[in-house]
């Protein structure tokens, strides 16, 4: 991955300098701050542009600080909706000038005195002499209509920046960069040639505005659009999705940018290896900078909960240290680590190899626990994984067994989410650095693979698939690899050589907020149609860029829907959650989302209709009311190992007071569903027992993790309270006594026909794994096979309707529209199949004929559940179609109503109304 073609360095050396253009003037010691959208943000991870400039000005001791941020727009410095940040993140000017006061100094305690800086950005080394601004792609999605506003915004931005003295002495030298071109990647799973051409026409118009304003205001402009448009399509891909650069594209754009910055200067021949050494030093420096600029748990570092103060010794809140002084000191350490690496880069630029000297790091502020344990030194008492079983009360006829613990595998600590792969192995995301990484310590959050190779019911092998990730709050398998949360990014990791360690690591989506790490995208779940859902809690402000149009924005509570095949990221639910954890899909694709804090379950169709930012959905009726809180994870008990009466029950983990797994039986209710509590699966009197995630295993047993921690609250103890455990973690399984465990079904590597037949399996997780396996096979093989499979199905099979629905979902997952198959399921005699197909229709509405007529049938369906889904689907219509959808949707009122239908119609109408008013 790090091999750089030699020729890139010279690629544009021959390009002629544009007439009258001036070189950017750089001075020794200049601080260059990069601002802008994801184009800018990704540059820090690659480092190509910085490396070139460090190399070009090898003895200038330049300081680069990248302030790029997914989704930003040029008016963001004054418009919070175009530069969304969590509370007290710091304004753009504060960052550029390296000057920001403590946000709430009056809340600090006497113990904080003398420990905090007056200027919390004092050590950032921003203080920009030069500003590189990368804006325009997000704005361009507004098309011609948005041009006048864009021109005005660019003018005002330039005027604003030039009137500042970020370095304290003089106005910054500003360079406006245009967006890069939208690259056409010839795949049916990304925007078509026509769509990409239209996008480029828009970007061109916005580039011209940038150029014109730059000229009028006499600031330097670098056109990245024209040369990239020219270069794209002539070799290997330059982007991951058409708009975000891959290493190839970063290198290309860096050379174009250098040429644009210094049009008259000579491009000297560079030794590629030397440049690569500089880039490597830049990447190392930027790692620390990124950890500083995008520090996770920001709400407890500078936001409101930074100012919680705790007692020092047994107690709760008190007048001891605040989170603020402790967390800000860590930022001082990160700033120093970064500055120390500036020197390493300078040395590298001069051909010297140097190691960072970190002898000057500020001292951390030690935290005294407010919840000491009973043992010497305030240590807490931990039962072993086995001993802990004696504290558990298990459902009648069920038995708990230890599958793995930290004694067997010391790396098994702080398990957050787990999942079985298609080989029947258990993957566990471990979060040792929780609540987030402390600088200077090892960043070794992990993704482990646990295996029971001898079939004795205990793991005997543990492989670290990834050992260098951070805050892995969720993951899910996809396309032969795995998607992992590493807020603010979503990573794709893949092992290509079969050693069970990843060798591909890509940041594929940016902009998920991390203000509170346990609110960060979590509880990943794959729906039967191939989309992945991720939950995020309040305080968060997320902005995600898209090759399909405007950035997706949401604040204070959301569920995201991500189609890995098409790289579409959307806000699935915008709702005022406290902190959603837990999301299930039942056998018919109905989904329920839990607001974890209050353990409130919602039937997702009721708040996942389309809604335009910044609006949020009204509160829907709950599925049921739970007696305890909070919920950490959920699962559907769909296992042939358990007696049939358990099938379909919902398992709900609860970690305070009642520490165990609750069980609910779902039932249809009117057009939606409800559930009633039945006997819990297991609960424990061990105060450290915190069941985090639950999943049915390939043997049919219920597996669950134990976070095993005396402290559970994020808010009740200092972020760095030493009583937070970092050394324990368990996995248990629950089996039904007197019934044999299931023989795991072979899935990995099986032929497509076998996998298709597994879609008939009664157990949800088996079908789920078959779908994952199929996601990694070529669509060109899978889809023809699926069509043959459907045609050959026995129509007399009691589950025939479900099997056909599975085939429809498989098409959806492979992004292949089959209108006939869709219509067949829309007319299924089974209402739940019709409802599920109506959901698919919602996603395919732009790719089937007469979607409104199909939905007219849905809202006139005899089943309320189908009508509910039809009303949902109509919320997605836009423009002129919104008015037509509004005509169709009211027909649902001809039929019997209930509280769900009424709520749903109100929500859809609100969205359609707002669009009509636009």
């Amino acid at each position: 991955m790090k091999i750089r073609p030699l020729l890139i360095a010279f690629l544009l050396a021959a390009a002629s300098a544009s007439a009258g253009a001036q070189d950017l003037e750089l001075k020794k010691g200049d601080h260059i701050c990069i601002i802008g959208n994801t184009l800018a943000e990704r540059m820090q991870h690659d480092g190509s542009l910085e490396a070139r400039l460090y190399s070009r000005f090898a003895d200038y001791d330049l300081v680069f600080r990248n302030l790029g941020y997914s989704g930003d727009e040029i008016d963001g410095y004054k418009n919070g909706n175009h530069r969304m940040r969590s509370m007290s993140f710091g304004s753009q000017d504060e960052w550029l000038s390296g000057n920001a006061p403590c946000p709430q100094p009056n809340k600090l305690s006497p113990r904080d005195q003398g420990k905090v800086r007056e200027n919390r950005f004092e050590l950032t080394n921003t203080k920009a002499d030069v500003v590189f601004a990368f804006y325009g792609y997000n704005e361009s999605t507004a098309g011609n209509d948005g041009l006048p506003a864009f021109r005005k915004n660019v003018e005002e931005f330039v005027q604003h920046v030039l009137s500042q003295k970020y370095n304290g002495k003089s106005a910054p030298r500003l360079v406006l960069f245009s967006p890069t071109a939208h690259e056409f990647l010839d795949t049916p799973n990304l925007p078509s040639k026509a769509e990409v051409d239209a996008s480029n026409a828009r970007i061109k118009a916005y580039t011209e505005v940038l150029a014109e304003v730059a000229k009028a205001k006499q600031v330097q402009f670098v056109d990245l659009f024209t040369p990239t448009l020219e270069a794209f399509g002539k070799g290997a891909p330059n982007t991951i999705n058409g708009i975000h650069l891959n290493p190839n594209g970063e290198s290309l754009v860096a050379s174009i940018a250098e040429r644009g910055l210094f049009p008259t200067g000579l491009v000297t021949k560079r030794d590629a290896a030397a440049l690569e050494r500089i880039r490597s030093a830049v990447q190392d420096k930027n790692f620390y900078w990124y950890m500083r600029y995008r520090v996770t748990d920001g709400f407890s570092t500078y936001g409101d909960r930074a100012f919680l103060k705790f007692s020092e010794g047994p107690g709760g809140y008190g007048d001891g240290l605040s989170n603020y002084s402790v967390a800000q000191r860590e930022l001082d350490v990160l700033d120093t680590l970064t500055a120390n690496r500036d020197k390493v880069v300078w040395d590298a630029a001069q051909g010297k190899t140097a190691k960072a000297d970190d002898s000057n790091l500020p001292e951390f502020i030690p935290v005294i626990t407010n919840k000491p344990g009973p043992l010497e030194g305030g240590k807490h008492l931990f039962l072993s994984g086995e001993e802990s079983i004696s504290k558990m009360t298990v459902h009648k006829n069920m038995k708990v067994e230890l599958f793995a613990d930290e004694k067997m595998f010391p790396e098994l600590v702080k398990p957050v989410q787990m999942a079985f792969d298609t080989k029947g192995r258990l993957w566990v995301a471990c979060w040792r650095t929780y609540p987030h990484w402390k600088p200077t310590q090892k960043m070794d959050d992990r993704l482990l693979i646990l295996e029971d190779t001898n079939g004795d019911g205990k793991a005997d092998k543990c492989t670290t698939f990834a050992g260098d990730i951070h805050n892995p709050t969720g993951f899910e398998f996809w396309n032969g690899g795995v998607l992992v949360a590493q807020g603010p990014d979503l990573l794709f990791l893949k092992d290509t050589n079969g050693d069970d360690k990843y060798d591909v690591k890509e940041r594929i989506v940016h902009g998920f907020d991390t203000a509170d790490t346990h609110h960060t995208i979590n509880s990943f779940v794959l729906d039967p149609g191939g989309s992945i859902y991720m939950q995020e809690g309040t305080f968060h402000h997320s902005q995600i860029e898209s090759p399909y149009g405007a950035p997706r924005r949401v604040a204070n509570g959301a569920v995201f829907r991500y189609e890995p095949r098409t790289q579409k990221a959307d806000v699935y639910v915008s709702f005022g959650f406290a902190n959603p954890h837990g999301h299930i899909f039942d056998g018919w694709g109905r989904d329920v989302v839990w607001d974890g804090t209050g353990s409130q379950p919602y039937h997702a169709v009721l708040f996942s209709g389309d809604i335009d930012y910044p609006h949020k959905h009204a509160s829907p009726p709950q599925v049921y009311k739970q007696r305890t809180r909070p919920c950490s994870g959920t699962e559907v008990l769909s296992s042939s190992h358990f007696p049939e009466e358990f099938r379909g029950n919902i398992l709900v983990n609860n970690v305070i007071g009642f520490q165990g797994i609750l069980q609910y039986k779902p039932q249809d209710k009117d057009s939606s569903l409800t559930a009633v509590e039945v006997d819990p699966i297991v609960f424990s009197s061990d105060p450290n027992f915190r069941p985090g995630d639950t999943e049915v295993g390939p043997d049919g047993a219920i597996y669950f993790t134990d976070w095993q921690n005396p402290i559970i609250g994020h808010m009740q103890h200092n972020l760095r309270d030493p009583s937070r455990d970092h050394d324990h973690g368990r996995v248990y399984r629950v089996r039904y006594e007197g019934r044999d465990l299931l023989k795991p079904v072979a899935i990995a590597g099986q032929p497509i026909d076998k996998l298709l037949d597994l879609l008939k399996h009664p157990d949800n997780r088996t079908r789920h794994l078959a779908r994952i396996e199929l996601s990694g096979r070529p669509s060109t093989d899978v889809i023809p096979a699926a069509k043959k499979w459907v045609a050959a199905l026995d129509t007399g099979d009691a589950n025939y309707e479900h099997h056909v629905l599975e085939a429809l979902w498989l098409h959806q997952s492979h992004n292949v529209v089959d209108a006939d198959l869709l219509k067949k399921v829309l007319k299924s005699p089974e209402p739940k199949a019709r409802a599920a197909a109506t959901r698919v229709l919602g996603s395919w509405k732009d790719r089937v004929a007469d979607p409104l007529e199909l939905l007219r049938a849905a809202v006139n369906d005899e089943s309320g559940a189908v009508r509910l889904q039809g009303v949902w689907a109509l919320s997605f219509f836009n423009g002129a179609d919104a008015a037509k959808a509004a005509e169709v949707v009211v027909e649902s009122l001809i039929h019997p109503q209930d509280e769900y239908l009424k709520h749903q119609l109100n929500e859809t109408n609100k969205t359609l109304d707002r669009r009509a008013k636009k």
């Binding site: 008190g318 005022g576 007071g657 039986k665 009633v676 609250g713 009740q716 009122l893 001809i894």
Partner: protein, 593 residues
């Protein structure tokens, strides 16, 4: 006559035109498709309700006119829908400031006169609607209703509210008459509350006088609430109260009320505390004090005594908090609170509730253009309204158009509650709360006991004088209204202490009810434990024994008990459901407020 004609002509024009939005209306209709459906032939009569509601909630003046004409036609709607349509139309005027186009004089006939008297519900709805539209023509009718001593309390309240809504000088002079000393106290309270929206100074003067004249039996809550909801209302009332002399009981009762809604306005709290003879608000304790008290909680606190204190009516804990799912839903459910919260956290939450507020309980304060100030937790918001949950657990809808300012609020948990507690009582209360969810007698309960009871407020003699037969159970129990019942809550152990319900130490017959929601059919055993004689009905099946089996079927079921409570000390009742080993039954006992 001319007005009438014009109105009729407009209706005809609209009907000919069909859809309001194409009639050249100024604001385009957002409900064109709904109007088409409403006026077309496909909508069955029994489904009109939702359509009318949606038209009212989103339609423009012309759309509303179509509904209005149906309202004033004697047989335009069913009586139920007519009432609802009037409420929705009132809501449209309040929330969206939209009222029907054209002449609206037809409504005035429903406000007063024989037709009105014959249908009180319709009359009240008409008054509300007409006064929301500030229809001055109904003023004389409202004045006479408000001042007539024969007017029933509820109607008078509506008339007074109508006068306030119209807000003219005539309204004010009527209200000033109604606060006069010669009138009954409830009338004066209503009038003073109404006046607070028009002339706060005069209202405060009257309100203070009313409180001075009140006895502990009079309920001043609503009047005080009116002042609390006004900008500066609490302070002005406090200033007037300082000039009056209140009985200690009235002062105490008023104080408890303001605390129970999460308020502790300093001036009002001080003047009432002084009158009540209790200490003024202490400042929040210092961390050292909390540490000291926490140590005492651990060494001296008694959880059993603490539970009794927690249940005390004057402290209102259970008005907002539930334990074992039984109790209010305003604040956090506390069953497990001790499991995660150390003692000093619990103490701080009681003594200084604003120190740390969990994200879903952060409140917002809304100052409205009309001087009202409302506080609550935001449930959801959209373009036209914000729904908040207030300290009473009630959902209040705030029109976005009326909001002058929105601020972050404090906790709804009242500060100053501890004034009603001795230090020892505080230790016991904190001990109880910090034991909740810990292993032991206050662990999260696993047994299925009835925790949330309904108590029939005024059981008829047919139920109390003798063991009633089935028809009386059908009529007076199963046929009762939800509003006929009060709530009572079991202790953590599942025991319902009956002396709290008996009222005094005299014997009484209580009708109590629990509810079960069954998901899977099967057998369950009902275990009734009581110190008193009990008869039990499972739905309509009567049982005399204290342990009996029932065959549960899916759905909701009622367990009704008739308890002859003697005069003994500590009478108790506990009802638990058990599932025999061979049973396939699945069910939950229903909790809540």
């Amino acid at each position: 006559m001319r007005r009438f004609l014009r109105a009729t002509m407009l209706v005809v024009a609209l009907m000919e035109c069909g859809v309001a939005s194409v009639c050249g209306d100024e604001t385009e209709s957002a409900v064109g498709p709904l109007m088409k459906l409403f006026q077309g032939g496909r909508l069955p009569a029994e489904r009109q309700g939702t359509v009318v509601e949606m038209i009212c909630s989103r339609g423009n003046a012309n759309d509303l006119k179509v509904v209005f004409d149906k309202i004033v036609q004697p047989d335009g709607f069913t009586p139920e829908l007519r009432l609802k349509a009037m409420q929705w139309m009132t809501d449209a005027a309040v929330t969206r400031k939209v009222k029907p186009a054209g002449e609206l004089v037809a409504l005035e006939k429903l406000v007063a006169g024989d037709a009105a008297a014959a249908n009180p519900a319709l009359q009240q709805a008409s008054i509300k609607l007409a006064s929301t539209w500030k229809d001055a023509a109904i003023l004389p009718a409202l004045q006479s209703l408000a001042t007539d001593s024969k007017t029933k309390s509820e109607l008078r309240r509506v008339a007074i509210e109508g006068l306030v809504a119209i807000g003219s000088t005539e309204s004010k002079s009527t209200l000033l008459k109604l606060v006069g000393k010669e009138l009954p106290l409830p009338v004066r309270m209503q009038a003073a509350a109404g006046l607070s929206g028009m002339d706060l100074a005069a209202a405060a003067q009257a309100g203070a006088q009313v409180l001075a004249d009140a006895t502990a039996k009079d309920n001043p809550d609503e009047m005080i609430a009116a002042f609390l909801d006004r900008k500066g209302g609490a302070d002005i009332l406090a200033a007037e109260l300082a000039k009056q002399k209140l009985t200690a009981d009235v002062a105490k009762r008023s104080l408890r009320y303001i605390y129970s809604v999460g308020r502790s306005d300093a001036a009002l709290s001080d003047v009432l505390s002084k009158a009540a003879g209790i200490a003024a608000d202490a400042p929040p304790p210092t961390p050292e004090e909390v540490t000291r008290i926490a140590a005492d909680v651990i060494s001296k606190g008694d959880a059993a005594r603490g539970e009794k204190i927690f249940r005390r009516k004057d402290l209102n804990c259970m008005k907002c908090h539930s334990v074992s799912r039984a109790g209010g839903q305003v604040g956090p459910e506390l069953s497990a609170v001790g499991g995660s919260s150390p003692v000093d956290y619990v103490l701080n939450s009681i003594l200084n509730p604003n120190l740390a507020v969990k994200e879903q309980y952060v409140t917002r304060i809304f100052a409205l253009d009309n001087g009202k100030v409302l506080t609550g937790v935001v449930i959801d918001r959209d373009d036209v309204r914000i729904n908040i949950r207030d300290a009473n657990g009630a959902v209040v809808k705030i029109p976005v158009a009326d909001i002058d300012e929105e601020l972050e609020g404090k906790s709804l948990m009242p500060q100053g509650l501890t004034k009603f507690l001795t230090r020892d009582e505080l230790l016991d209360l904190a001990k109880f709360i910090s034991e909740l969810g810990k292993p032991g007698p206050y662990a999260v309960q696993q047994s299925k006991t009835i925790q949330r009871w309904r108590v029939l407020r005024q059981p008829p003699p047919q139920l109390t004088d003798e063991v009633p037969h089935l028809e009386h159970i059908r009529q007076f129990v199963l046929g009762s209204q939800p509003t006929d019942w009060d709530s009572a809550y079991g202790r953590v152990s599942g025991i319902l202490p009956l002396e709290e319900l008996r009222g005094s130490d005299k014997p009484a017959v209580l009708i109590l009810q629990g509810e079960v929601n069954v998901s899977a059919a099967g057998k369950a055993t009902v275990l009734v434990t009581s110190t008193e004689p009990v008869q039990t009905w499972f739905d309509t099946d009567a049982f005399d024994s204290k342990k009996f089996d029932v065959e549960l079927t899916p759905g909701r079921h009622l367990i009704t008990l008739r308890v002859e409570v003697s005069g003994r000390d500590a009478p108790e009742l506990r009802v638990e459901l058990k599932t025999p080993n061979d049973s396939s039954a699945n069910y939950e006992v229903i909790g809540g407020p």
